[in-house]
Subunit: 760 residues, 2 copies
């Protein structure tokens, strides 16, 4: 837990330099624009503790899997998020001495992430040995208006200083990943080029052959009007432009670096040099100020429908905006080949891009805060990976077109290697279908079912069919050897959540097949042929729907997380000495496993997903049974509890749960922000607010709100997209006003009461 940042509604501010938290700050001050981004590293370099990170969405490296004991079925490769070209570099020398805040004392340090405008600004002063003061001001952004472009501006002002200043903007491809197995580099030898109009460095990844090229144009002026000539320099992996000036008291120096980053997902390898130069000249033409204006405008558009206003609670206001800002930086929904990595552009940890977090937590966020195309692209992403999911299942012994989506993936191939997760945490397959359901009920757009959805759903149903077996002992279909969302249980039998969602997948798919057959017989026939789908298949599903085993305790009238759960010593988390927490740091793994303690919502995750299947009393009973045993050691856990607690009128519990993730990274709650931000769990926090405190639900195709905001808040306001409309919701302790901002008339329900909406 750290509290060194200043609370502000729109900005994240570090006032005074905190070198001890530098890697944390690097994570927090990350920038991105959906296509590329990186950590808040210092432009001028930093010899202290730092994790350099510049990442390009979709550009990864399949490193060799490293395990102690190989298990059959493990993937050979593990896709790693790749640290790429260091494009922010801007070396500074004062009288020949390199500026380095690890060794050069500075004053008036302030760095600000202006989330409204998407700008990272940093200023500080130093006192050179020769006297006087130099003040520095950096500004940086990754353009949201043009995802190839980034800009950096540096201003240096002298007060009483006379001497030589050198600034050397550069591009450098001599980069490493911290998590490289053997310290090796993942890029093959770079190419550089340079002339008066540009400097370029380009490199290709080993194995995957992704090419990334970075281009820069730099201009430095003295006192805002005297242009300083530069000297170019090319090295094997680096290009730079060197500027030198003698300055005096009152002089200022301004250096602007305009960057174009291309990668081979968008521009073919061979075309990058020409396209980069073309683009760069266009950018130079446009100029820093105009690029910045367009960038700010683009952020304005995002905030217009994504913002949440919380009044009466500044930390909460700052926290939620930080989450929204980071989520939209990470994923803008324009490319179905991309997804939301757990650390986005803020770190390399966990590798891979996509977890089930996307389906369970991020899709609801993008459904409400963006237009339907954004979430749909996330569905299409999985459709594009369907052949790989079928291949993945077949590696594990499944046949007949059964699909198992990977636990972690970049290109559709599994790249995780813990048997209890990789092979057994198969509930993720259910989330794929749930996301389709969620998308359709939210947007009303059924077209995706015919354009990929049904294929995904049927392939998943085939997996579930083969994954259960008939237990003569139980006289029921059972699912053995799984790991549920609660990863503090491994290789259990009949995890309630997994069995339940498997059953639901069959049910929902049967319904949608019926819908397709009735309403779109031609398209359905094409799908049937493509999948070699036989009518008898759903009979097998129906048999399993009827007979699947759901562990239940008659005494308590609760569904059991898995077989044998009641054999555990059941005691609440509060019975533990606080020195035992967090369990994942204090207890050995076997002790965690045999304890009753729950890492992350499991039965409750199911009751959240399928809320309309359960009476409030049933949910309450389960909440009261499971929540006290839940340690929430996954940042994805509290939001589900916050939403359920809100529904159950347990406002204090809802608020408590909300607080556990609201400022997870800003306050470095788990002491791990230095590795990068918890991007996907930010969507969970958003859900706590919108689905929790505002109680947003889609029930029978209509939008409902059950508002109940925390006591310390005066008001909550936000905007949502829903079925082609945009509406604004303003909640106070007593009121809930919903206004239609665009789209045709539609009713909503507030606390069950139907309202026709006023148009803004």
């Amino acid at each position: 837990m750290k509290k060194y940042l200043i609370e502000d509604a729109w900005c994240i501010i570090e006032d005074g330099f905190h070198p001890e938290f530098q890697e944390v700050s690097e994570s927090i001050f990350s920038l991105g624009n959906g296509r590329f981004g990186g950590r808040g590293n210092f432009e001028e370099g930093y010899s202290g503790k730092t994790l350099p990170g510049a990442y390009f969405a979709g550009v990864y490296y399949p490193d060799v899997t490293r395990v102690g004991w190989w298990k059959n079925g493990y993937p050979e490769y593990f896709a790693k998020v790749l640290n790429g070209v260091h494009w922010i570099g801007l070396e500074i020398k004062i009288d020949g001495e390199k500026l380095d805040l690890a060794t050069t004392p500075c004053t008036h340090f302030r760095r600000t992430l202006d989330m409204q405008q998407g700008l990272l600004q940093r200023s500080f002063e130093i006192s050179p040995a020769s006297g006087g003061t130099l003040s520095f001001a950096f500004e940086r952004f990754c353009s949201m208006a043009d995802p190839d472009v980034a800009c950096i501006e540096l201003r240096i002002n002298s007060t009483g200083f006379t001497g030589r200043l050198e600034v050397t903007p550069f591009l450098d491809f001599d980069v490493h990943n911290r998590d490289a197995n053997y310290g090796d580099q993942f890029w093959i030898a770079a190419k550089t080029s340079q002339d008066e109009t540009h400097a370029m460095v380009s490199s290709k990844t080993k194995k995957t052959n992704f090419t990334v090229s970075s281009f820069m144009h730099t201009a430095t002026t003295l006192n805002d009007h005297i242009s300083i000539p530069s000297t170019g320099k090319r090295e094997s992996k680096k290009v730079s432009n060197h500027f030198e000036a003698e300055i005096q008291d009152g002089s200022s120096l301004r250096c602007r670096k305009l960057v174009v980053n291309l990668n081979s997902l968008y521009v073919a390898d061979a075309d990058q040099p020409s396209e980069g130069k073309r683009k760069l000249s266009e950018v130079v033409q446009k100029g820093y100020d105009e690029i910045k204006r367009e960038h700010i405008e683009a952020w304005k558009d995002i905030w217009d429908t994504a913002d949440i206003q919380i009044t009466g609670d500044l930390p909460a206001q700052q926290g939620i905006r930080f989450n929204i800002f980071q989520l939209w930086q990470t994923y803008t929904g324009k490319d179905a080949r991309l997804n939301i990595g757990p650390k986005g552009f803020t770190g390399e940890k966990y590798g891979g891009s996509t977890y089930w977090d996307t389906e369970a937590y991020c899709i609801p966020f993008y459904l409400s805060t963006g237009d339907a195309g954004v979430a749909r692209n996330l569905l299409v992403y999985r459709y594009l990976h369907l052949p790989k999911a079928i291949e993945n299942a077949s590696k594990l012994g499944f046949s007949d077109g059964a699909a198992l989506y990977p636990m972690v993936t970049m290109n559709g191939e599994e790249c995780h290697n813990e048997w209890e997760i990789t092979f057994e945490e198969i509930h993720r397959n259910g989330a794929m279908v749930y996301a389709i359901y969620d998308y359709i009920r939210y947007t009303g757009d059924t077209s995706y079912l015919l354009e990929g959805g049904l294929e995904v759903m049927i392939s998943i149903c085939r997996f579930w069919k083969q994954r259960v077996n008939y237990s003569r002992d139980k006289n029921a279909w059972v699912m053995l050897g799984v790991t549920g969302p609660n990863e503090y249980e491994n290789n259990v039998n009949n995890n309630w959540y997994t069995n339940y969602i498997a059953r639901w997948c069959w049910q929902y798919t049967i319904e949608q097949i019926k819908w397709a057959a009735e309403n779109h017989p031609v398209e359905w026939e094409t799908i049937q042929e493509k999948l070699n789908y036989q009518d008898g298949e759903s009979d097998d599903w129906r048999e399993r729907i009827k007979g699947i085993y759901l562990p239940f305790d008659e005494t308590r009238s609760v569904y059991l997380q898995q077989d044998g759960f009641l054999d555990k010593e059941l005691q609440p988390v509060k019975a533990l000495p606080s020195s035992d927490l967090p369990l994942n740091q204090k207890w050995s793994w076997d002790r965690i496993l045999r304890s009753c303690y729950i890492k992350q919502a499991d039965v409750l995750q199911g009751m959240y997903f399928f809320e309309d299947h359960f009476e409030a009393d049933t949910v309450r009973r389960h909440f009261e049974f499971y929540e006290p045993m839940t340690v929430h050691e996954s940042s994805l856990s509290p939001c589900v509890h916050a939403i359920l607690a809100s529904r159950l009128g347990m406002k204090d519990k809802a608020t408590e749960m909300y607080h556990r993730t609201a400022r997870l990274d800003l306050d470095d709650y788990n002491n791990d922000t230095e590795d990068g931000l918890h991007i996907t769990s930010m969507a969970g926090t958003w859900m706590s607010v919108v689905r929790g405190f505002a109680g947003l639900r889609v029930i029978r195709d209509e939008l409902h709100f059950e508002p109940s905001i925390p006591d310390e808040w005066d008001g909550l306001a936000f905007t949502v997209h829903f079925r082609g409309r945009i509406m604004k919701i303003a909640i106070t302790k007593d009121e809930c006003e919903v206004v239609l901002r665009s789209g045709s008339a539609i009713p909503v329900f507030v606390r069950g009461e139907r309202r026709e909406l006023n148009i803004e």
Copy 2:
């Protein structure tokens, strides 16, 4: 499966060179003397596929643990069996050309492992380019009479060849482990020394600071009487003596290399140079022939009580002698710091030295084939590790002196890192107590109880006490999250075997405490004080003895391997297509886990250990339930089934099971002999014969036999130690003769009938 070796009662013979199986042969032709040993590498070097291996008992390297995903509690280091000084080296040049059987064609190749005399011999002929023939004959042994000493003799005869021969015996410490994490060497820079009387190379292990020094004296003679002078050469890690001679048709050259290998377990680092030289001069004094004579004599003594004679089945005869030979080469019972590594001196795979194999399989072998001191040293080994076992348990959250013995260890510290094994395959603790019980009932020597046994037992009982918890649901004590001997089930609840042996540990310990308190009150008080043992402790144990849960199926009247076993699809192995076997190569891990298939005896392991607790009918019912589902993919599995099948009169099944391991390595049954021999499972094969076909049992302190030999055998004869006596048993289809060879009169029981023994 390979059948390239010649069947012979006492020898393993490769007739004609099989370079395609060279690494297999290197394993099979391994030599050792309990203190050091190594693979059957060629003295002259070999540029083809080869795994060089020279190992020193107790000398290991703790390499950094390598896992994909770290779990709390994993050990930081993994003790690796270390490839050490290459002391067999003897380079040969013919007219300046290096002899290398990978490139030099040879004829009349024959290599023989003479198990009776402990000699490795190899001969072949080559035809040099300059004409004529050279015949080569090597002989090598590691002295069983003096464990510091090894000898090599090379004879070269010329028929029609005239030219220059060079022989260069050397010692080389530039060695690697194949399983080094990053290809690094585990030895720090070597020292060498050399003068007319000796050559030496010495090196120290990184981290562990073990020193190994190898000394050699070499002599080469022409035509058996002309001594050839040598030229010494020292390099940084290597010393050699070079001999050169011009020879003619009919000439012969003989080179003898006498080696002394010292290591710091026996001679302090600083004393090794002087002690090595002293020892070497003693050895030189004695001479090759005398050393060899003493060595053969020592083997004669071992065979005198360890041999098994099988008549009418030559492959079986050869197989069982190979097993006995390898076991005695690996461990001679003279040093309680040593143990039986799963690969002995024949390979580096699996690292570590000691598994529960020692207690479950090897102790019975050494109890019968050696004097009581041998097995006792294996018990003392664990007593010496008790403090580490307590430390190990405390790392996992256990307290109050509870001990958990490691799954794999070299020095008492755990060095395995699969959570489902390391933390959960805790039944190994039961085997530690069982071995004490087994030792006492076999030898009648109770003194070990007071000299370590009770301390081990009480510490283990304390572990079991804390490892169970009370299930209100079952109204019983349960043990959650374990892996039984059947490692094809992980993290299960209430593994019958583990629960059963835990209960037995408490029962047996309570009995032995009572015995000690009554018979040795003074010693018992000392132990109590040392362990801070309170009388109330055993009350907790008693409560658990009474209430421990043992899963049972009323319908079939069988104990269930674990909770939920009946939920599986129960079908016999023979229902699988043979292309699915072995499962561990063909199926993904999750599929194996959720199947009913059993890797290794589990419930039956318990019924074998505690045979006298179960009626034959009960055992038969369990055998018939479990054995058909058992794939025996551990080489330790079949012997237990062979023994039980013999008891149940299922002679064909017993024979089938016996055949699965009898020639496991000689015929390379599992295609993995190249990694090294399955040393510990060799003890299992021995058990199949002696405890299976001969039906040897100790019942109420008396020795029983229930002989029933395979149909294809004419007779079976062997010798056993028992309670200070040595007796010889000779079994034919109809008869069973037992003769007392030494010791006082004692009755034995043959098929339940009491016999007074004739004295030989």
